[in-house]
């Protein structure tokens, strides 16, 4: 009998508070997905190349896990308290009927454990399926072979998810149930609302409102400034201003409602506004906290999703081999790899040594032209960098043209007395533009006393596939000039190869590469491949987007569920008011409309404030937190981030609709109860 009661009660809890139950399932899914990240195909792949970095990332996961458990406990505490209050009357009756306090305590814990178990049963299959889908999709997108995919269940992830959630539930439940069952039955049955006393304290609100706007304004202003993340102090100021501003703003909303109440009153408008005013004022701190949670969620999601869309590194050289021509070619042919390349050429570079007077070099004219440009940060960097340029690398024109051909670009044309300037591709667009501005004036440089005209355009296609050699500045010279200037001793032989398109089409990018890498490992050649480049890119994507999306999802559901539950709790407590409305002749549609309007505003206020703040937050995050790798794609990321905000609006809408339906159900129940009495 007792166990039947537990079963029935937990079932009705799930039904009554479906919002919370759904959030619990989503939490299970999110926890599993993040904890099983190590076993994702893409992670295994990156680990094979960037194992140190991946290890560091994996050390971070437990920290994220504990942090999100902490935030989840906020939701669990909140909804459990709601459940307890809602059923207070029932508990009072159990005690009056002679149930022992310890038995009631045990019953409450058991009921919740049944629900938690159901959440696990529902959550894990979804989680495992989702991880498989993510793993397969990511593999497919980046071209990992699907054939190598194995279905895996990460038991440690299952275990930690269960341990974490059960632990916080037991702790919170014990505390709350303990408090509840120790109340006197009369207090439980009456379940009195203590909101009365606080009502008239909202007098100073215009000050709160102004203070809120002011502090938030300062936080926004500080947030969009450049160089913010380098200064810990201004970061702390922003947090202080932003958080205090949000709290004050929510306290100040009382004043806005007061103003709105002075206008025309039609239908249930006055009632709706008063309900909102009271609910927002009584829970202003809570709503401000939710708004801040939503802000973190918005920022993390926008940042995470847009980072996923960042472009892959451009691919125009697949492999770079180092070695003598004969040795490289021979080994490649022996291994049967040469035929898999559609292009294979030497990238001829030479160091123009000036230290012992072998050559003379001067770029005074270029420095002078740069100095004449209007002052800017880039100009200063250029003056500094080029000031050290006294022994540049030279690149053979025909080699570089092969590279351009692979990238699908037009070849360069040079006369004997002309050079192109080559700059490190990692330099920013503005940097290169400033340089080109200076070159427009027709600048000459001198090598061995001879003048060379510097062409206006600056070339920035990397000469090797990854980082075998990093050239800061170099000169592309005509072949015959190269032959004269090059020192046979300092000429390094780099051999660039491009994989046949058909192989990539048939096997996918990564599979194609890994197959050849296996063969190449046997040859003992010194080489690097585009894969290392790609691996680094994937690592950034995974570490930046995976974790931010995870945090974003967890915070989004927690904040929304908390807002929804709080609203329904308030509505339940003020049920008598709705009954009075019905007695005065209001019909269901009018009361439902009022309830729905309240739901909309109750969500809109925290979400709206969070949305405005997130515009600044996202900008600040992309400014400061993006790895330098993505920096050049910043504008692109902001556009995607704004699209993501629209997507989040859809999620909010789903939550609002769900709470509206619940509100309608509550109001309908109140109407029915009024009739029955």
């Amino acid at each position: 009998m007792f166990y039947n009661l537990i079963k029935r009660n937990s079932k009705s809890d799930r039904k009554e508070n479906s919002l919370y139950f759904a959030s619990l399932i989503i939490s299970v899914v999110a926890f599993y997905v993040i904890l099983s990240i190590e076993n994702q195909d893409v992670m295994k792949f990156i680990k094979s190349m960037e194992s140190d970095a991946v290890q560091k990332l994996l050390i971070l996961i437990p920290i994220f896990y504990v942090f999100s458990l902490f935030v989840l406990s906020f939701l669990v505490f909140f909804t459990t308290r709601y459940q307890m209050e809602r059923r207070s009357h029932e508990f009072g009756l159990y005690l009056m009927m002679g149930m022992k306090r310890s038995r009631l305590f045990f019953m409450l814990i058991a009921e919740d454990m049944v629900n938690t178990a159901v959440a696990f049963l529902a959550g894990f299959p979804i989680a495992i399926l989702l991880t498989e889908i993510i793993s397969l999709t990511v593999s497919r997108l980046i071209g990992l072979g699907i054939l190598e995919h194995h279905f895996t269940i990460t038991w440690t992830a299952v275990l930690w998810t269960i341990v974490g959630i059960v632990l916080i539930k037991i702790v919170i439940l014990s505390v709350l149930s303990g408090i509840t069952v120790n109340k006197e039955p009369y207090v439980l049955i009456k379940n009195s609302d203590e909101s009365e006393k606080k009502r008239t304290k909202g007098q100073g609100s215009p000050v709160f409102l102004l203070g809120g706007f002011l502090l938030l304004g300062i936080a926004y202003f500080l947030g969009v400034r450049k160089g913010l993340w380098e200064q810990m102090r201004s970061l702390l100021w922003i947090l202080l201003f932003g958080i205090t501003g949000t709290y004050l703003l929510f306290k100040g909303f009382y004043f806005l409602f007061q103003k709105a109440l002075k206008k025309k009153r039609k239908g249930l408008r006055t009632f709706t506004l008063r309900q909102l005013q009271e609910s927002v004022f009584l829970k202003s701190g809570f709503l401000a906290s939710c708004s801040l949670l939503l802000l973190i969620a918005f920022c993390c999601l926008s940042f995470g999703i847009s980072a996923t869309f960042s472009q892959k590194p451009e691919r125009f050289t697949d492999f770079t081999f180092v070695g003598e021509e004969q040795e490289v070619k021979e080994k490649l042919e022996q291994a049967g790899i040469m035929e898999q390349f559609q292009n294979f050429y030497q990238m001829e570079l030479s160091f123009l040594s000036t230290f012992e007077g072998e050559h003379t070099f001067s770029c005074e004219e270029l420095l002078k032209a740069i100095k004449e440009l209007p002052p800017s940060e880039n100009r200063d960097i250029l003056i500094n960098n080029l000031g050290y340029l006294d022994a540049p690398y030279i690149i053979k024109l025909s080699s570089y043209n092969q590279l351009l051909k692979s990238a699908g670009k037009e070849p360069l044309v040079l006369k004997e007395d002309e050079v192109f300037l080559y700059e490190d591709p990692r330099m920013s667009e503005e940097y290169v533009e400033t340089l080109q501005e200076a070159l427009k004036t027709g600048v000459h440089l001198q090598i061995d006393g001879q003048d060379y005209l510097m062409k206006e355009k600056v070339m920035s296609y990397d000469v090797v596939t990854d980082d075998k050699i990093t050239l800061m500045d170099a000169l592309i010279v005509e072949d015959s000039v190269f032959e004269i200037l090059c020192e046979k001793d300092s000429t390094q032989s780099y051999w660039n190869a491009i994989l046949n398109d058909k192989i990539i089409e048939n096997e996918g990018l990564i599979k194609g590469f890994t197959d050849i890498n296996k063969e190449l490992a046997k040859t003992g050649l010194e080489y690097e491949s585009y894969m290392e480049n790609m691996g680094r890119h994937l690592f950034y994507i995974v570490s930046e987007s995976y974790l931010s999306i995870y945090l974003g999802v967890v915070f989004l559901i927690i904040a929304n569920t908390a807002i929804g539950t709080q609203f329904l709790m308030y509505q339940g407590k003020t049920g008598k008011r709705y009954q009075a409305l019905f007695a005065l002749g209001a019909d269901f549609s009018k009361a439902s409309k009022s309830g729905r309007t309240q739901v909309c505003w109750y969500f809109f206020l925290p979400a709206g404030v969070a949305a405005v703040s997130s515009v600044f937050g996202i900008q600040s995050m992309t400014n400061g937190l993006l790895s330098s790798y993505f920096e050049e794609q910043q504008s692109n990321i902001i556009v995607i981030a704004l699209l993501v905000v629209c997507l989040i609006a859809v999620v909010e809408w789903v939550y609002i609709r769900t709470v509206m339906k619940n509100s309608d159900r509550n109001i309908h129940a109140l109407l029915e109860r009024k009739r029955d009495e």
Binding site: R269, F271, Q275, L584
Partner: protein
């Protein structure tokens, strides 16, 4: 006296089914005339509140008809029903049922707002009622800031704002001290005379009932007795004595002492 405003014909209401059936009303018929102050008395569980709730359309009778100005209110549905609840009747609850997050003025104006009446007119009427019920100075206060008597007068003003044909009052003095109760009853009596509003009041308090012009006694779901105050010659205290006699007769007296 004027013409018939409300006519109750063979009203029955039962709860539960078959063996467990309880008959709260078992064939009640009577008429209420315009401008009358009618009291309904009876012991606890006699069916008086059920009767009032049937008239207020808060519950549906099992059998019988309720005619207000000749119209069967049992047939009202949707908009017409809401209109009836908000405009034709005013309801005064024992525990006031004021919305505690609205000011007194907002509470009073609520019915007219629900029914989309002219705001200006409603505000004028509100001021008139506040003046009549002596509560102008509490209009801006919240219910938690005023006394029980003021709360009930606010509730009365709310019930009267849309100028209903009949004011239904369910133990309106039940939660008030004797001084506040006396003041409220005087006001209700005044409303009946000055505003020509018909009042129907359920009570088990003989003192409250002595303000009425006619009293119906209900027992076990049927009308058991009727008392009519002989106006103008019968004084209120004489009428009170007569009421006590009937309540005493209604089961040896002890059944009516609550």
């Amino acid at each position: 006296m004027g013409k018939t405003l409300l006519e109750i014909q063979g009203l029955k209401k039962s709860y539960g089914r078959k063996e467990g059936e309880t008959k709260a009303l078992n064939g009640v018929s009577f008429q209420v005339l315009e401008g009358e102050f009618l009291g309904i008395m009876g012991s606890s569980g006699s069916g008086k509140t059920t009767l009032l709730n049937c008239i207020a359309t808060m519950i549906k009778p099992t059998e019988g008809k309720i005619l207000l100005s000749g119209e069967d209110i049992g047939r009202f549905k949707g908009k017409k029903l809401a209109q009836f609840r908000g405009k034709e009747i005013g309801y005064l609850f024992q525990d006031f049922e004021l919305l505690d997050n609205l000011t007194v003025e907002e509470n009073i104006l609520l019915p007219s707002a629900i029914h989309g009446d002219s705001r200006k007119q409603a505000e004028n009427k509100c001021m008139e009622l506040a003046h009549y019920l002596e509560m102008q100075d509490v209009l801006d206060k919240f219910p938690s800031q005023i006394s029980g008597g003021q709360k009930q007068r606010a509730a009365a003003a709310r019930a009267l704002i849309s100028q209903p044909k009949i004011l239904l009052a369910d133990e309106p003095t039940g939660a008030l001290d004797s001084h506040s109760a006396k003041k409220l009853l005087e006001k209700i009596n005044g409303v009946c005379k000055d505003f020509k509003t018909t009042v129907m009041m359920v009570t088990h308090d003989a003192n409250a009932a002595s303000y009425c012009s006619r009293i119906l006694f209900i027992q076990d779901g049927v009308i058991f007795h009727e008392l009519r105050r002989q106006l103008p010659e019968e004084s209120q205290s004489d009428f009170y004595r007569r009421i006590l006699e009937v309540t005493a007769a209604l089961g040896g007296g002890s059944a009516n002492v609550l």
